[in-house]
């Protein structure tokens, strides 16, 4: 196989493509959250399209190397990262032990934080004059059942009104130990948001003043927005045909 052929067959784009052709300056292949098989959602063997054997690994955008940007140059993303790392250093913490990964994707900056350090990081982000993220837009939980050992993600969006910036913190915990320290003390607005994440995902926020269900009835069993919790619904008859419930319909993988 000639050099030219090898370049064109695209077997290993990570090595073959130039850096400027890649979607971003990414440090690793990203977090694997699942594997997709086939194309048309046919699982009973009725797929004659030839796409049935397709296997694709689904990865979330991976960690980013400096400069963070925004854009190709160092920008306020780097400023925030520098200030945060400096402030953590002053508190006697090793920044790389606190911030496990920094992701820049779609013009947004995400810090992946070790859960035990979350309240300290939140307090630093709120109080440090150079950071000053005074406003928290609550917590949004995401369930990735196939992300072994990191099934539950808690995502916080922080906004700085002083500097007009928005960043994201992400904390991951295993399903077997779904404990995250509460940051209600730092951001009282998270009171209801953490109750909602507990109600729907079973995330337990340690130190929350009253972690009870908020939307579902108090005696509800299970956590409805987890991926393994069924949507429910009944088949509906329409013009003589049975329309299955939404979660029973074919999904195009």
């Amino acid at each position: 196989m000639s050099e030219q052929d090898r370049r064109n067959d695209g077997a290993n784009p990570d090595q073959e493509l130039n850096a400027e052709n890649l979607p971003g300056n990414r440090g690793d292949g990203g977090e694997v959250i699942g594997v997709r098989r086939g194309m048309f959602g046919a699982k009973a063997g009725g797929d004659t399209s030839g796409f049935g054997g397709l296997v694709r690994t689904v990865r979330l955008p991976g960690g980013t190397r400096r400069p963070y940007g925004p854009g190709p140059e160092a920008g306020w993303f780097d400023e925030v990262a520098d200030e945060l790392e400096g402030a953590l250093d002053e508190q006697g913490l090793l920044p790389e032990n606190v911030i496990t990964k920094t992701v820049v994707d779609r013009g947004e900056l995400t810090f992946h934080i070790e859960r035990e350090h979350l309240p300290r990081v939140a307090r630093t982000l709120r109080d440090d004059p150079a950071l000053r993220f005074e406003y928290c837009a609550g917590v949004s939980a995401v369930h990735f059942p196939e992300d072994r050992g990191r099934e539950l993600h808690a995502v916080y969006h922080l906004r700085s009104l002083t500097h007009n910036r928005l960043i994201r913190l992400e904390v991951t915990v295993p399903d077997a130990d779904p404990h995250i320290p509460s940051i209600v003390e730092v951001y009282p607005t998270n009171d209801w948001h953490e109750r909602e994440a507990y109600d729907f995902f079973g995330l337990i926020f340690d130190g929350h003043p009253a972690l009870t269900r908020i939307m579902m009835p108090d005696d509800w069993q299970g956590f409805p927005q987890r991926k393994d919790y069924p949507l429910g619904g009944i088949p509906v008859e329409y013009k003589g045909a049975q329309i299955p419930a939404p979660d029973q319909r074919r999904s195009y993988s």
């Binding site: 990203g30 959250i33 699942g34 997709r36 694709r56 689904v58 990865r59 979330l60 955008p61 994707d105 779609r106 013009g107 947004e108 995400t110 005074e134 406003y135 928290c136 837009a137 609550g138 949004s140 939980a141 995401v142 369930h143 995502v155 969006h157 009104l161 007009n164 928005l166 994201r168 951001y187 009282p188 607005t189 998270n190 009171d191 209801w192 948001h193 909602e196 729907f200 269900r213 908020i214 939307m215 579902m216 009835p217 409805p224 927005q225 949507l231 939404p246 979660d247 319909r249 999904s251 195009y252 993988s253």
Partner: protein, 444 residues
Amino acid sequence: MSTPTRHATAGIRETTEGTVYDVTGGDWDELAAAAAKSDDERIIVNMGPQHPSTHGVLRLILEIDGETVTEARCGIGYLHTGIEKNLEYRTWTQGTTFVTRMDYLTPFFNEAAYCMAVEKLLGIEDDIPDRANVIRVLLQELNRLSSHLVCVATGGMELGATTVMIFGFRDRELVLDLFELITGLRMNHAFIRPGGLAQDLPSGAVDALREFVKKMRKNLPEYDKLATTNPVFKARLQDIGYLDLAGCMALGATGPILRSAGLPHDLRKVQPYSGYETYDFDVPTVDTCDSYGRFLIRIEEMRQSLRIIEQCIDRLEPGPVMVGDKKIAWPAQLALGPDGLGNSLDHIKNIMGTSMEALIHHFKLVTEGFRVPPGQAYAAVESPKGELGVHAVSDGGTRPYRVHFRDPSFTNLQSMAAMCEGGQVADVIVAVASLDPVMGGVDR
């Protein structure tokens, strides 16, 4: 522990699911006698979830001592419909049909925020045609008017100012007529779609919009005449529902509540989207931190919205209202049929008779949807109630993996306790009305 007394009105029966206790009704004489026996005035009152002045199915749990509220809590969740979960079982485009029903008084803001998040995930934020952006801004500002009108109207009604209520709903009707003309529906439009809009403006819309602006310019001063300087209205609203800037920041309150504490924070100005930076408008603030200030802000914001609507009308240049990418946009000839239902006959003739590829693409886009690259995005708009944020996560499939709405009503409602504790029972209604919570958005 004593055994519970069996009342004539409370029955117990066995069913296949287990024992069912009926506790409807009850003997109020017994309750009154028990209350008279105890020597303190402290009572816990459930206001709602079916009380007319709690804005839908909101339950307020008030501990009152005489006429003073000593503790106040909210019970929510009565209107939880699992919209976020349902989205995970539909395509990205079908999602707009669901999110428009969240805060049902601000459907266009829900749609716009959701679509902006999806567009960010797709990386097509900069490809949205100008005309689509102008119409999005136009619809959102119309919607801001209708939402504020309902807030002012229901707020007035709760004080007994029924004329304010009649006027508010009269003017909201004008906005809903426009929505019906433009989208075909008065509520729950699903008109803003990922990539642009479902359709262009119909003929006659611009004239109707100009007529509307003229009429609203005449009608808006009526609220000033009726309420703004009305001594009774002022006496009920001033210094009620007090929440200062520190309280707003701690509790994450946004929108008119934050601006009534004097901070001119408006996402349309600080993080502009859909071209808001090119429009000329002001962000009104007051520093009274009370319900009256929030009322003044809403009235002024309606004036500013009219200004933006006028600018939108002048900017409407002919052009596409959907991105050019045929992997996202439905076949472009899509238009309503002559009876207002279904597709136009020309379009059907085209896809059925002459262009099989268009039919295939249409079928695939409608049934399967488009794929969105894996990742997450946060998009926020300034809804009439505050920051409406959407956190959307994709796993690369044709359906959302997770969509979370940070609804401003949900967050603002948390400050109810801070506003009401220590005040009078009658003022709870005023404070809650000034928060303008809509339970469809709170519970989702």
